[in-house]
Every structure is written in C-alpha cells, then in structure tokens.
Amino acid sequence: MPDIFTNSKKNIESKPTPQATQLPVENLSNPPGLFSAYCPNPTGINFANQEPDENIVLFLRRHFITNVPWIVSVLLLLIVPVLIFSISNFFAISFFAIPPQLSFVLVSFYYLFILNFGFLKFINWFYHVGIVTQKRLVDLDVDNILHYHLAETEISDVVDVSYAQRGFFQSFFKYGDVHIQTQAIKANFQFEQCPNPGEVADIITDLRPEEKGEKSNV
C-alpha cells in the first residue's frame, strides 16, 4: 500500500539549527570619525537612556554625499560678493553709494549669515543619526534646528526590514533608505539615505530573536 502521509520530522531534525549571527570581531574597537556615516561596533558613542550592558552594534548617518548640494550652494554664495566687487571695479560701476564702513559691516553680516546657514545644515546632518544596539533601534531625526524627533523601539518588535535604492546617485554611491516595519500599533522606522543599506537591513534582521533561533523551539 502506498504511503499517503510520511512524517518529515526526521528531515527537519537533521537540519542544522540557525546560529546567532555575530558581527565581525575585528571591528570591536572602531571609533567613528567626525564625518563617519556608517560605523559597525562603534566606540566612544553614548545615547540617553542607554543601559550599562547595552552595546551599540551599528551607528548610521546619511551618506556624506547628501551634503554636496548645500556645500556647493554655500561655496557659490561665498563668492557672490567677490564677483560683484570685481565686476564693479572692472567696469568702474558703483552699485552702492554707501560709506566703506557700512559696506564692511554689510559684507561681514552676509558672510556670517551664509556660514551660519552652512553650520546649521551641518548640524542637521551631524545629529540625524540611527543607532542599532543588540536590544533596540534608536532614530534621532533633526529636520531643522527648531525641530527634532527621537524614536526608539525594541528589536523584538521589528516585524520586517527592507531597503530601497532609487536613482543614479543612490546606486552609484551605494546608499539608500532602510524601512523597518514594527508591530502595528507602533510607528515604523526609517533610516534615510544611509550607506550600505543592504548590510544594514541584514544586520538588523540578524539581530531579531526569530533569526537567532528563539522561535525554533516553539
């Protein structure tokens, strides 16, 4: 008589149990630089409410290439007064009949304004970070100097991790958005424009308890 049902449990038992993924050991001491955007196992970084036994697995910022538009804008705006004065001197045109002391103060104020604009853009990039620990995800979003938003969630609440790379620059410079879906009642997370989004998604996925084999006992 042919077997209609065969117990495949023996085959399942013969499969190896998934091992808990570990990050490379050689990166255990890795202090991030001032402009680091992707730093696994960083040292010298602490965040508010960090527990003593909580280690940072991954430190993320937006890719540095995302700063290029405002850096170019600042550089162009810095040379505008020089261009105006050069043109006015070359053609012997007097644009402004104002005293030299006042023009000095006006130009100084202009440069101060432009440099401060660049500094604020740098702060927005510098503090816009994502942190992955072995227990939770922390997302600090600084949209502008008057608005920032801090969100965190437990790793065990992560349901799904995906990433997307759109357009030429994201493909060329290898950065993209990592979407982290959490349990329905909580907000979803997004690490925007971070370098190596595939590796980031992989690391977060590997940190989930399901991936560490805790569910295989059920």
């Binding site: 991030p32 630089g33 970084i45 508010a48 104002i98 000095f104 100084s108 104020f109 101060l112 100097i145």
Partner: protein, 82 residues
Amino acid sequence: MFDFQNLFALFQDRGIVLLIKILLLLLLFVYILFTFIVINRVRTLNRTLSLSAARASFLVQALAMMFLILTVFLFIATLVIV
C-alpha cells in the same frame, strides 16, 4: 503739521545710512537670539547623543559659541564704526 522737509532730509545720504544702521542692528539682535537658540539646541542634542569620539560634540558646541561671539562682535562693530 507734518514737517515734510525733515522727512525728505531723512532720505538723504546720512538718513539712509542711519536707516540701514538701525535695520542692521535689529537684524543682528534677532540673530544673537537665534544663536542662543542654536547653542541651547546643540547642548540638548549633545545630552541626547554623546559623541566623544574625535571630540565631535565639543567641536560642534565650540563652533556654535564662535558664531555667537562673532555676531556680538559684529553688533558692537556696527554700533561703533558706522
């Protein structure tokens, strides 16, 4: 009766310079308040996220303070030399 002679005098060379000076002082005063906000926000962010590596937090705070000092210096310069 309104004195139009004085109003026209205001828009002569010295009057325009005076108007620009007052406007600039007002802008610089608002700017000083804004730099105070920036310094406070940087302090708050440093408490939330401490980046002791490469002395980054200290550097950003020092830069914010430098902008405040420059703005105050420019305010005084506008008062004195213009």
